[in-house]
Structure formats: structure tokens, C-alpha cells
Symmetry: C2
Subunit: 236 residues, 2 copies
DNA sequence: CCGAGTTTGTTCTCGCAGTCACAAAGTCCG
DNA sequence: CGGACTTTGTGACTGCGAGAACAAACTCGG
């Protein structure tokens, strides 16, 4: 490793598993919460509880970043926060654009949680003429045609899609064309993008349907238990 | 199997893997889209493409529900749609309540996609006095104190939390107390709930941070390639 | 009725992820 | 200074999920 490039600072361990990457932001938030309560250090057990995960899993996850804890003591909250933030890449702010300023887009634009977590909304775009020039969350809504110009000017690499499903693919294509390489998609549509572009999907209906599945199973089980409450003895 | 209970109709194969459950709604949506285009039947290959998954994975997923396809032909769109909907439990509508009618809560209340996918918003609740009595999406905002009453009256088992993070645990506790057993949580907080209660989390900041991680890795890789574009030859 | 063609359902293999358990490494007190 | 205690970091094990490949089953044309 480190075969001579040495371009950036302390090269961290590469190849962090996806499952771990998905949890690092959770740890970061838990650490921030601890720091807000003036807690300077914590054990893996405490942090795991705050993040809602198994402590062994947490330690293993952190070990992918390096050895930032002290045996017998635990982790320094500020130090570990910084290391995770650095690994994720949120030590500096990422510019983000939102396309589709309807119900959801406006809620997202008004959401303060983005800016506090390493992201800065730099532009809101919408295709509808009646949206043009309106001010949402202190930003002027701009025409969708300005996409490429804005992306180039602000060095945007992350785009949020909150347009109706039929328009999502077109918007995604335009984003990719403009140079965006990470997309957060709220539209219930499957997006086709070239390799090298990451898409993450947030789909409320799917989440609710998953809950509904478990809910029906619970209901079915309860009914069964009423029918004959000794079944587990038979099948086992 | 089928050790004598046989309470409900054709008992399907039990123990559907979580990963499959999470994809069934995607298949259902793809099927609905096909039906809208008057397509009566489709092969696993076509459906897989529409859902954005591998066809072998799709067939395996569907096989957990039973054998609803015809070899040499494919799947009947309507029939398969119904079978998946039945398995998920969205053949009838589920009543849902939303707690926290701020930016996000209002967007959710106004979202028509819920009702069309097996869910019906029956009540909007908020603790703030100035929200009381306001009408959002045709529903009157009701006081948070009415939670238990509403849940009992409407047989609600699914609740949506869109309050600020510090209030989320309190709301969740009240929901569980009122009899809700499935929660969709938008607040960036870890919820502690008793066993038997399902919680699913939707966290935008986390999604963006995951994108940011891959984005920084892309950036680092590009830089490295510029530094010395024959590195793969050295390390390999 | 039969054979060619098509597509499902399933088996097998491999890799990733979660959990346990423990040695290594540090702290702290006597 | 040394030993008891605490907590990390990691190796081993297990189970789930993804994907390839193939046999079984069905259709359709002749
Ligand atoms: N509202 C919610 O709570 C919610 C929840 C989950 C998912 N969604 C999804 O998010 C998306 C947006 O939902 P919404 O409720 O905000 O819808 P909306 O109709 O209120 O807003 C959509 C906006 O996108 C704009 N738009 C349409 N086509 C466009 C294009 N080609 N380019 C640029 N802008 C375009 C429209 O002008 C409109 O302002 C939908 O796909 C919806 O399914 C919404
Ligand atoms: N707005 C977004 O796009 C967005 C995105 C992601 C996550 N979130 C999260 O969703 C939650 C809501 O966001 P928002 O932007 O709608 O906030 P908001 O402040 O606009 O709305 C919160 C609402 O909850 C109500 N509330 C507060 N405490 C309550 C309680 N104990 N019981 C009942 N109601 C209560 C408030 O009166 C207010 O109406 C936050 O946790 C936020 O982090 C929002």
C-alpha cells in the first residue's frame, strides 16, 4: 500500500464495506449528540447504545477507519467525530441542487438539517412557468433549462430529484449530462444511469408497504394463536 | 407444513426473506405500470428490467410466494399483481396517522401517492396550538392529546413521525401506548420501542452522506489517476 | 401426437455481513 | 513499580443474499 502516490494526508484503509458506510453517518450523529451534552469521551458500548447498534459491530466498523480508540478508555468524541467526517468527506460542505419544487421539494428546501450536516442547497429548479422567480427558503426558483449552467458554475456533484415519476428519468439524464454524479431520487421510478453515477432512492410507499407486510403477518399470527395456541409445540 | 390451522385461505409459503419483502413493492409498482400500458403478461426478464433487478433474483423472490408463473409463457400481470398485493397485505387500505404537521408533515399529507398504494391518511396530529383546527389536505389538524382516541376509533396500526428529533421518542412512546405497532420515522433519532413494534427510518441526511462518501472516493481516485496513471500496474 | 423452443422454478456456489469471544494494550491504584 | 481491571481491535464462525446455471414444464406449430 501507499506505493508512492501519497497525494493526500494519512491514507486511510480502503474498501470500507457498504454496510459500514451506511452506518458511519449514524455514528457521526450520535457523536454530535454526545458532544452537545459536553461528553468528551465514550466507550464503544455507550456509543453503540446511542446509535442503536451492537457494540461489536460498531468497533468493527470503526476499525475499518483505523485505530482511533484507546484500550481501557474508549473514544475521544471530538477526535472520532472528525475522523468519521473526514472519511465520509463532509469536513467541507457539498453543494446540492433540488429539481422539482412542489410539495416535497419545498419541504426539502426549507429543511435546515441539510446545511448543518455538510450540505448546502445552492439552487432550486423547476420546469413549471408559474414557479419561476418565486422565492423558497431564501432561494429563487430557477428554470430547469439553467441546470447545466448552475452545475458548472457551482461545481455541483449531488442532485436531488423530487419531480413526478414520469419526469424523473428525463431529469436524471439531464443531471448526468450536466456533470452530476450522485443522485438522491424521491420519485417512485427506476432510474437508468451510466456507470460511475450513484443513485440512492427514498421511497415512502415502499417503506409503508414493508410495514404493512409485517403488520399483516402480526395480525395473521395473532389470529392463529387464538385458533390453537399450542401450535409451536406441534411444529417444533 | 399446514399442521392443521388452515384458518385463512390458501396459506402461502411462510418466512419470506427481508430482502425479498423489500423488493415486492417494487415489483408491484412495475406491474401496475405495465398494466397501465395494457400489457397483460410479461416474462421475468421484462419485469426484472422494469423493476431494475436481476431476473434470476426476481424469479427467486416470486418463488417464495408460490408458483404463479407459467413456464414457456411468463406471468399474468393482473394475477401476479393481486398475489403480491395479497402477500404484502395491501388488498385493503391501511389507516395511517401523521404526527408533526410541519414542512415535511404537510408535504406527506398532500401526497397523493399514499392513498393510491393501499394507505389512507385518517388523521393529522400536532402539538402546537397554532396548528389546531387548520385544514391540511382536506383534513383538520387535531391535538396530539387525541392520539389514543383516534387510534382506537380508526383501528390504526401504522403511524408516521415527522416531528423534530428531540420529540420523536416521546411521540413514539405515545404511539406504542395507544396501540400502534408499526412506525415510519422521519426524525433523525434512534427510537427505542418494545419488541413486536416495527420501526422503519427514512433519513435524508444519511442518504446524502452516503452519496458524499462515494463522491469523495471518486474525487480521490480521479486525482490519483492524474498523479500517476500507471499505479494499477505497480500495485497489481 | 410430437418435437422444437421458451421460460419458469430451483439448486449450487460464493461472498458479504453480523455476532461471539478473546488476546492485546492501555489505565489506574496501591 | 506491578498487578488488577477495563476496553479496544480482530479472528473465527455462521447465516443470509446474489447470481449463474440447469432441469422441469409448458406452449405452439406442423
Ligand atoms: N410529497 C411527498 O410527501 C412525497 C412523498 C414521497 C414521494 N414523493 C415523490 O416526490 C415527487 C414529487 O412529489 P410532490 O408531492 O412534491 O409533487 P408536486 O407535483 O407537488 O411537485 C412536482 C414539481 O416538479 C415540477 N416538475 C415537473 N416536471 C418537471 C421537470 N421535467 N423538470 C423540472 N421540474 C418538473 C413541477 O412543476 C412541480 O413543481 C413525486 O415523484 C412523488 O411521488 C412525494
Ligand atoms: N423538511 C424536510 O424536508 C425533512 C427532511 C428530512 C427529515 N426531516 C425531519 O422531519 C422532522 C420534521 O421536519 P419539519 O421540517 O417538518 O419540521 P417542522 O419544524 O416544520 O415541523 C415539526 C412539527 O412537529 C410539531 N411538533 C413538535 N413537537 C411535537 C410533539 N411532541 N408532538 C406533536 N407534534 C409536535 C411542531 O408543532 C411542528 O408543526 C424533523 O425531525 C426533521 O429532521 C425533515
Amino acid at each position: 500500500m501507499n506505493t508512492g502516490a501519497g497525494s493526500s494526508a494519512q491514507e486511510p484503509h480502503r474498501d470500507i464495506p457498504e454496510a459500514t458506510v451506511a452506518r458511519l453517518p449514524v455514528y457521526l450523529r450520535a457523536l454530535t449528540s454526545l458532544a452537545d451534552r459536553n461528553i468528551a469521551s465514550c466507550s464503544s458500548e455507550e456509543l453503540a447504545a446511542a446509535a442503536g447498534v451492537n457494540s461489536a459491530k460498531l468497533r468493527k466498523d470503526l476499525s475499518y477507519l483505523g485505530s482511533y480508540g484507546t484500550r481501557g478508555v474508549g473514544y475521544d468524541v471530538d477526535y472520532l467525530s472528525y475522523q468519521i467526517a473526514r472519511e465520509i468527506g463532509v469536513t467541507h460542505d457539498w453543494p446540492v441542487i433540488i429539481v422539482g419544487i412542489g410539495n416535497l421539494g419545498q419541504a426539502l428546501a426549507n429543511f435546515s438539517g441539510f446545511s448543518s450536516r455538510g450540505f448546502r442547497t445552492v439552487a432550486l429548479l423547476d420546469a413549471a412557468p408559474q414557479m419561476q422567480g418565486r422565492s423558497v427558503a431564501g432561494l429563487e426558483v430557477r428554470p430547469f433549462a439553467d441546470l447545466a449552467e448552475i452545475v458548472a458554475a457551482e461545481q455541483v456533484s449531488i442532485g436531488v430529484i423530487s419531480v413526478p415519476a414520469p419526469a424523473a428519468q428525463d431529469v436524471a439524464d439531464a443531471m448526468v449530462e450536466a456533470g452530476i454524479s450522485s443522485i438522491l431520487n424521491f420519485a417512485p421510478a427506476v432510474l437508468n444511469v451510466p456507470a460511475g453515477v450513484d443513485v440512492r432512492k427514498v421511497d415512502l410507499s415502499i417503506e409503508l408497504q414493508i410495514l404493512a407486510y409485517h403488520e399483516s403477518r402480526k395480525a395473521a399470527e395473532a389470529e392463529e394463536t387464538v385458533d390453537n395456541d399450542s401450535e409451536e409445540g406441534i411444529t417444533a
